[in-house]
Amino acid sequence: MFKRRSSLRGPEGLYGWLFTAPMIIILGLFLFAPILMALYVSFTNWNGNGSPFVAGPNAQFVGTKNYTDLFTRDGLTRTAFMQSISNIFYYVLLVVPIQTVIALLLALLVNSRALKAKGFFRTAFYFPSVTSAVAISTVFLFIFGNSGAVNAFLGWFGINGPQWFNDGRGLLNMLLSAIGLDGSKAGWGQHEVLGQTVWQWLSGPSVAMTVVIILVIWTTSGTFMLMFLAALQDVPPEVDEAAALDGATGLRKLLTVTLPMIKPTLFMVLTLGLIGSWQVFDQIYVMGKGNPNGTTLSPAFLSYQTGFADLRYGVGAAMSFILFLIIIVCTMLQRFLLRDKDVRRSRRRQPAVALADQPAGVTK
């Protein structure tokens, strides 16, 4: 018997490698090797001419200069990079909590027992997530345009809507000014930190960036709603009944009974949102390209622009590696938060490993 088994297993070694060979070749050639190539380029000042791997006037080896300059050398590059970091910070700060709350709210609504037409609502909320980010951004360009639907709608109430895509004023700046803390002239606001004034660091998202934020929340909530819905449907009915017997209802039940039950999913949605938010690119490309005044720059878009438009591939690559590191740290955080999930839960509901390559619609 042993002999027969081993002869059966015999060619498996060969076939194992044969079956995985296409994957190893493609991922090696277009993922692994390119990362190493880009790592090298990030230590050069390649300008797009000739080969980046032949030392010469087009691609001198500059060591870690591209990295250190981003943090220490005064200049336009550092200012733009720091602005993109500041932009994405406020972006993440708004997108992640709001999309999580909306997704949870939608899931709770769709999950209500007495609800008819569950399927219809689920479809309606999920649909934006599966469509092209570029197409949706185009639609939002129109809807938020100067003569678009949003301003027309605001007009019904006598409100003069802003010129959304040309408005670089920061929301936090506006708020601070409104309560008398105007730092645009005052000394404290003009103090410079890492290439930006304190007032610029405190700008908050610009009006233009707010549109991107609204768009992203609108497209991703549906995906996260599905995750919450799956988790809610896993909560045993007895738990609900026990809670009801204890007299827990409404918000109190949500906070003390439901949320603790779906905590792993909550962590997952928060961290997937965090990872996805750092990568925003398509929407920026269509809706702002950094305008106005760099207030819609995201690190991913800045890295692209620095490489492909300014032909400073070394600096662009350095930016993308810093972004890479930040996202990997978020991924680690996710794996850490979800680490003991598999101990408590069945095999089918294993821990979610952070994915950059996410389910439909999380990043797009």
Binding site: L109, F121, S132, M227, L272
Partner: protein
């Protein structure tokens, strides 16, 4: 339970749901309606869902080469269909091949290969723009279909989904086939794959949707001229104002609509597979 829900609560729930549904669906109706408007009508009545006057100008611009403000829609469509089809077929085949090997075949290094697949899934796509360009350039395939297709032919997430699927299927049927003398590839092709239909459908949909909606990859491996533009990259250049002048909203939204339709149709037919895909995506690991 349902008897305990008061009518007022119920009405509130429905009102909230309907309000959200309108918010989520309305932009798609705007897309359809605006594509049949004139430029002036689109600007003057942005909220209206009824074109007045009804105009086919945007659609003529897309499909009639002699029309004003012509955009090469047929080329974009052709490229999108070509690239998305090849990528989808390739992903379904190679992902399941690799997923099967990682799940079933015992070979030295399997654990390492699988660990690498899981690791690769954590690599953020937007950090790969310059890297991909460098490799495509190095291989001398910049601005070709090969550059658009080859890097997308296999994806780690798809391999992962298939591996998880095969892990959940009992091994006995395959062993019977193998006992009967079928070779490993033969067993995979005629016994395993037919059983994997639900997973294959999910993978097909995810692959088509992914490659159809893909933007950044095509952006960095082609030079942005018509020859290798897909609907998505073409629309991006149209929307961000690189083509033509003026707002041209009916034209832009018409192109956006065409970009949305194929995935929308797939979505409505195979909805439950989309849902499964989203949840599997979340449960990877």
């Amino acid at each position: 339970m349902s008897t305990r829900v008061s009518p007022i609560t119920r009405i509130c729930v429905y009102l909230a749901l309907v309000a959200f549904a309108v918010l989520f669906i309305y932009p798609f109706f705007v897309q359809i309606a605006t594509s049949f408007k004139t430029d002036a009508d689109a600007t003057n009545n942005p909220l209206s869902l009824i074109p007045n006057p009804f105009s086919m100008a945007a659609w003529r611009s897309m499909f009639d080469p002699s029309a004003a403000a012509h955009v090469p829609m047929t080329t974009w469509l052709f490229n999108s269909v070509l690239v998305a089809s090849v990528v989808t077929v390739s992903r379904v085949f190679f992902d399941s091949l690799a997923g099967y090997a990682l799940s079933r075949l015992r070979f030295p290094g399997r654990g390492l290969v699988f660990a690498l697949v899981v690791g690769i899934m954590a690599v953020p796509g937007v950090a790969l723009l310059i890297p991909k360009f460098l490799m495509v350039n190095y291989l001398g395939i910049y601005n070709t279909y090969a550059a658009m297709i080859m890097p997308l032919m296999i994806d780690a997430a798809g391999v992962f989904i298939m591996k998880q699927f095969f892990d959940s299927v009992p091994v006995s049927i395959e062993e019977a086939a193998r006992m009967d003398g079928a070779g490993i590839f033969r067993t995979f092709w005629s016994v395993v794959l037919p059983m994997a239909r639900p997973a294959l459908i999910t993978l097909t949909i995810l692959s088509f949707q992914g490659s159809w909606n893909e933007f950044t990859h095509y952006l960095v491996v082609t030079d942005g001229t018509t020859g290798h533009q897909t609907l998505v990259t073409g629309l991006a250049s149209l929307a961000s104002g690189q083509l033509g002048a003026g707002t041209q909203y009916p034209l832009k939204l018409g192109a956006a609509l065409l970009t949305t339709i194929p995935v929308a149709v797939l979505f409505f037919i195979f909805q439950r597979y989309f849902v499964r895909g989203a949840n599997e995506g979340a449960e990877k690991g």
